[in-house]
Symmetry: C2
Subunit: 327 residues, 2 copies
Amino acid sequence: MKLKYYEVDEKELLQEAKKGKRIAIKLPNGLSCYACKILSFLKNNGIDAIFLAESCYGACDFIFYDDIDRIICIGEAEMPYLCYKPPVSFIEAKYDFDVKFIEEALPFIEGRKVGIASITPFIHKIEECKKFIEEKGYKAFIGDKSRRTAYNGQILGCDISSATSIANNVDSFLFIGDGFFHPLALYIAVRKPVIVANPIEKKIYSKEIEEMAEKMIKKRYAHIAKATECEKFGIIVTKKIGQRRLQLANRLKKMLERHQKEAFLIFMNDINEAINYFDFDCYVSTACPRVAIDDADRYEKLILTPIEIEILLGERKWENYEFDQIL
Amino acid sequence: MKLKYYEVDEKELLQEAKKGKRIAIKLPNGLSCYACKILSFLKNNGIDAIFLAESCYGACDFIFYDDIDRIICIGEAEMPYLCYKPPVSFIEAKYDFDVKFIEEALPFIEGRKVGIASITPFIHKIEECKKFIEEKGYKAFIGDKSRRTAYNGQILGCDISSATSIANNVDSFLFIGDGFFHPLALYIAVRKPVIVANPIEKKIYSKEIEEMAEKMIKKRYAHIAKATECEKFGIIVTKKIGQRRLQLANRLKKMLERHQKEAFLIFMNDINEAINYFDFDCYVSTACPRVAIDDADRYEKLILTPIEIEILLGERKWENYEFDQIL
């Protein structure tokens, strides 16, 4: 079944859907416009499924659901260490492409040793990319997967450990994927050239990543500087099973209180514009690390990451700025 | 403690908060701007509470929460038939006012027999209002509470049975409260004059209710008419404990299918703009009845109530239009 640019294996979908009696499908934003199409397909194959229309920003973004005995999540790869209730079948959506287009990335690669990283709709091609690059005379490395990732070389917005684990062995990184959040996180972590090869656009980005990263770090510093005047901190904790960091939240609360700030935990599953109206001056998100970074402009109030709070309070040096990760 | 125009009993708040070891406060939108103020007050009294920042459109709007052993909900009255987990202490916010202002409503009352209805921040004054009206020579009636309401005479957006139960005995209704949703629902149900006495504005509305109701019904008819072209229906089911109507949803699904429509259940807790992007033509909300009526303009796609679906499919006559209630 073709969904947008992505291919979903119909046989696998039916096979997984037959494992439950009360099945629900869950879809990331980009695929939710095919909900009825997928339900119709299942129905035509004798399976009456439900659409579980909750937020779906990754395999981390699950709570516990009743009245369903299996979830079919289309378009995400499993987070192997999580215990899903009910069980979840992850059916990946794959983007097929000819790896030859990455030839255009080669002139931008510094050194001969290249680390390769990718994300789910493209990761099935990572070995082919490695082979292609090695045929061009480079030595290519793919880092091992972590407990949160399903494939070697796969990185997440909140877990780039597959790439950082090989950073010392390589001169540059090649990121195969779309969007800039992952390569930015990677660049900030490794401070080595990161070249992006976007298989959908068939475009290469190199110096742009460094420029964007520097701009973003400046913006984050500005947010931290603004927060020095804040007195009332709300520490946001989600119950999404792959984003819940209650212990960290309690540690931050104590740290803020030690520095004479008022600090309270806020249990909130999906962070949204409501935070503009609460009487807190500043928030810390212990949920998805992207919220503070990517969505900052959506909010009138400041949202910092846990690492930024440490910098704010002088418990970490400015030069040790890091992207927040859930490892 | 004064919150906006409302008075909250501090002693009651502390007494309830001391009943748990891990307490969270939950607040309706209008009071969420006092979250930190309330948490500070509790903290100064030795109670370190959490802010449970989930949607709070009534005592119906609860799911089950972990890691908390009691919720203090400020500003709503209990729904007695629900089983909350963890237990919830409802601390009402009361609006104090001099009942004499309703004298201005008297010239608009038709007949001598008046039914009185009200909502939570004002309901504590209902007996005083009754007495005042009776002193003016009227015979006043207050309907019994239902399983969903905490007080005689109290109505909800989804349960006006306290008022409808006395409709045959009265000539007019007097509604003590703010907003127009409740009196509109009441007018549509009873088709007798409904006079609104708003204690905050100290204003009286009479003919306006009838006009607004007629306008609203016309708008609903237009929505039903538009939906005749729709083929793909999404039936929204929430897991909020006081709004969950799974059986009704299954009945609507079968009814739609009998009429050759495609129909699927959608599990969605908080209905939001995401529905604009799903590939359904029309939605039915089995959750809070206000969603389809009050929020219609927020959505590009149609949302009907279960009763409107019956009309659409010819299973109910147009002239039997009713407000959706959860009874």
